[in-house]
């Protein structure tokens, strides 16, 4: 399996780097820390210190502690960083000073910190002011600093804003801190769609309990979710606002109305319908009318996923006798088969960078997540020997993948890096969870 993983041609690799530099529009010096195009990128050692208390209020100290925890967790979540244990710190900038003049860079170099974050918290009445500085102890310089003002209750949002800014400056892409995860969870007598923050916090149910629901899919603006529900005793597609509870029937043709997938520009959805007697993928207008039929083969065609430019569509077809993943060029309507390894390959998810497709492959009752280049090269296994690993969905920066796994017995929602590293539980609620979908970045 591993022999198949190294496939990037050196010239192609250089070309990718070139693209990153050309299109990022950012001073690329910062990318010395994190090169997202490098599949072997090492985690950057970073020291996150407890911010200084800049007001006398007793609460300030608590808020400072809380800030360090949220900042550490959010940075660790990305998989980009290796957080240095605070017990190894030689200094406490929160007490000794948080500016470039006051920080002793040597003491941070000595513990191997490539990056250092200092901060300050000031609470005046209910007004919370926070400042953060990111330093490079080896260059002995400030990378950038930010100050945020809000209410005390905005603490988490303010910290995550800084985390986001850090990721943006170091990778050229906005991070995942302003994203959400939709998934299906069991209720007492059925299933419902739930959503949570990117890190599994703030879980809440958004559809009525005890229905049968499947495949929630965020729309490109990240405010609404298309999903299949049996609310009318048959599988129809509905679109629900994630926040207001507004809900409308999108598609209720006779037979199946399943696996909705938004076009990246929001100009329509693809879905599998069976009103003509065969399970085919159709393109539907935003109003739910049939625009055109995309597939035309006897047997199952299901689970469309568009390339980010909207010009191609990956999907599952049983046309070759077993479910395999195919790619259709939507301009020419030509279709080619993508997967040849394995007898049961489903759930394709096109990566936000457009170069790769994640999917699940089943054999011997186990399922695993694989990633393959859109041209069919570079097959790579991301999970192994851990029950059923299914439903991969990319974070909008392409750095992480959320998926479901039965490695603990029940089916849980896990997250891992796009290279399969740091697999960890994301959602901690009772019952079986499945079919996670990562939202796009909303409102920057």
């Amino acid at each position: 399996m591993n022999s198949r993983t190294i496939t990037l041609h050196p010239v192609f690799f250089l070309f990718l780097l070139f693209l990153v530099f050309v299109y990022s529009g950012k001073a690329f010096a910062n990318y010395d820390y994190i090169n997202i195009s490098d599949p072997f990128h090492r985690q950057v050692p970073i020291a996150v210190t407890v911010p200084a208390s800049l007001s006398d209020d007793a609460e300030t100290g608590l808020l400072a502690e809380q800030t360090a925890v949220i900042l550490s967790r959010s940075l660790a979540f990305t998989g980009y960083f290796n957080l240095i244990d605070a017990r190894a710190f030689l200094d406490a900038p929160g007490e000794q000073g948080i500016t470039a003049r006051e920080v002793n860079f040597r003491n941070w170099r000595d513990i191997g910190a490539h990056l250092l974050v200092t901060g300050g918290v000031r609470l005046e009445g209910r007004v919370l002011q926070m400042e953060f500085r990111l330093f490079d102890p080896f260059r002995q310089e400030l990378v950038f600093g930010k100050r945020y003002t809000g209410e005390a209750s905005d603490l988490r949002r303010m910290v995550l804003r800084f985390s986001d800014e850090m990721i943006y400056r170091m990778t050229g892409d906005w991070g995942v801190f302003n994203t959400r995860i939709a998934f299906v969870s069991e209720t007492e007598n059925g299933k419902a769609v739930y959503i949570s923050d990117f890190d599994g916090e703030n879980v809440r149910r958004i559809t009525p309990p005890d229905d049968i629901v499947l495949t929630p899919a965020w729309c490109p603006e990240g405010r609404r979710i298309a999903y299949t529900s049996y609310a009318a005793d048959k599988p129809d597609i509905y679109i629900r606002s994630a926040d207001s509870g507004e809900n409308e029937v999108f598609s209720n043709f006779e037979g199946l109305n399943i696996t909705p997938a938004w076009k990246p520009d929001g100009s329509g959805l693809a879905a599998t319908l069976s009103f003509e007697g065969d399970e085919e993928i159709y393109l539907l207008t935003p109003e739910g009318r049939v625009d055109k039929r995309l597939t035309n083969s006897w047997g199952v065609d299901v689970s469309p996923s568009f390339s980010p430019d909207g010009k191609k569509m990956a999907f599952v077809s049983g046309r070759a006798g077993s479910p395999q993943i195919y790619i259709m060029n939507l301009d020419t309507m030509r279709t080619r088969r993508l997967t040849f390894e394995g007898r049961y390959n489903t759930q394709p998810e096109w990566s936000p960078r457009g170069d790769r497709i994640a999917y699940s492959s089943m054999s011997d009752g186990q399922s695993d997540i694989f990633v393959i280049n859109a041209d069919g090269s570079g097959l790579r296994r991301l999970t192994q020997d851990s029950g059923r690993n299914e439903s991969p969905s990319w974070s909008p920066d392409g750095n992480l993948i959320v998926f479901s796994t039965t490695r603990e017995g029940e089916s849980n929602i896990y997250v891992m890096t796009a290279m399969g590293g740091q697999q960890r539980k994301l959602i901690d609620i009772p019952g079986n969870q499945s079919l996670p979908d990562w939202s796009p970045v909303t409102g920057q």
Binding site: L214, P235, G255, S274, V300, V302, G318, M362, G365, S391
Partner: protein, 199 residues
């Protein structure tokens, strides 16, 4: 069962009517009246009336019971009714099973479906819902489509056997409604099925 209940109800009805009648029109006690003023005629008249009414009720009840007995006891009718009921139950209990990741009909499935088609043709007013189901292997999305294919295979067969397509509705539940829980071949083989219900 139904017969027993009806009979019981009638008995109760008759008895309560009798009680009601005797309570409501209880004749005055004799000692309340001087002997010469005893309203004998009225009392006997009333009594006769009551007796007549009771008799009518009794007769009515008896007639109705007779009626019941007459109808139920026609052996041919009873047998036909029973058979019809059993046929209906057999139709609803029939299931068609499939191989893994497969929607084609086995020989056994075809035999069952021929019987199903016969019943549908004999019961021309029935509209059937064919449910397609899958085992829990594989992924939910693909299984929804596979369940649809299975239901569609059944529908196609029934239509070829002469049932009007408009009387057959298909619905797929994918792997959402297993009849047997478990991760073994026994559970899987029982869950890969098409079921029938009537609309």
């Amino acid at each position: 069962m139904k017969k027993c209940i009806s009979f019981g109800l009638l008995l109760v009805l008759v008895m309560s009517l009798m009680m009601f009648a005797s309570c409501a029109k209880r004749p005055p006690e004799p000692e309340d009246y001087p002997p010469d003023e005893q309203p004998m005629d009225i009392r006997s008249g009333e009594r006769a009336e009551i007796e007549a009414e009771l008799e009518r009720q009794r007769r009515l009840a008896e007639e109705e019971l007779e009626g019941f007995r007459d109808r139920d006891l026609t052996p041919e009718e009873e047998a036909a009714r029973m058979e019809k009921e059993m046929d209906r139950e057999a139709f609803l209990e029939s299931k068609v099973y499939f191989a893994f990741d497969n929607s084609s009909l086995t020989t056994e499935a075809r035999e069952i479906l021929l019987r199903q088609a016969r019943w549908l043709k004999e019961n021309g007013d029935a509209t059937v819902i064919v449910e397609g189901h899958c085992d829990n292997r594989g992924t939910e999305e693909y299984n929804l489509a596979l369940g649809s294919r299975r239901a569609q295979s059944v529908k196609d067969f029934l239509v070829n056997a002469g049932v009007e397509p408009s009387r057959i509705v298909t619905i797929s539940y994918g792997e959402e409604r297993p009849v047997v829980q478990g991760d073994n071949e026994d559970a899987w083989s029982k869950n890969r099925r098409a079921e029938f219900r009537l609309r």
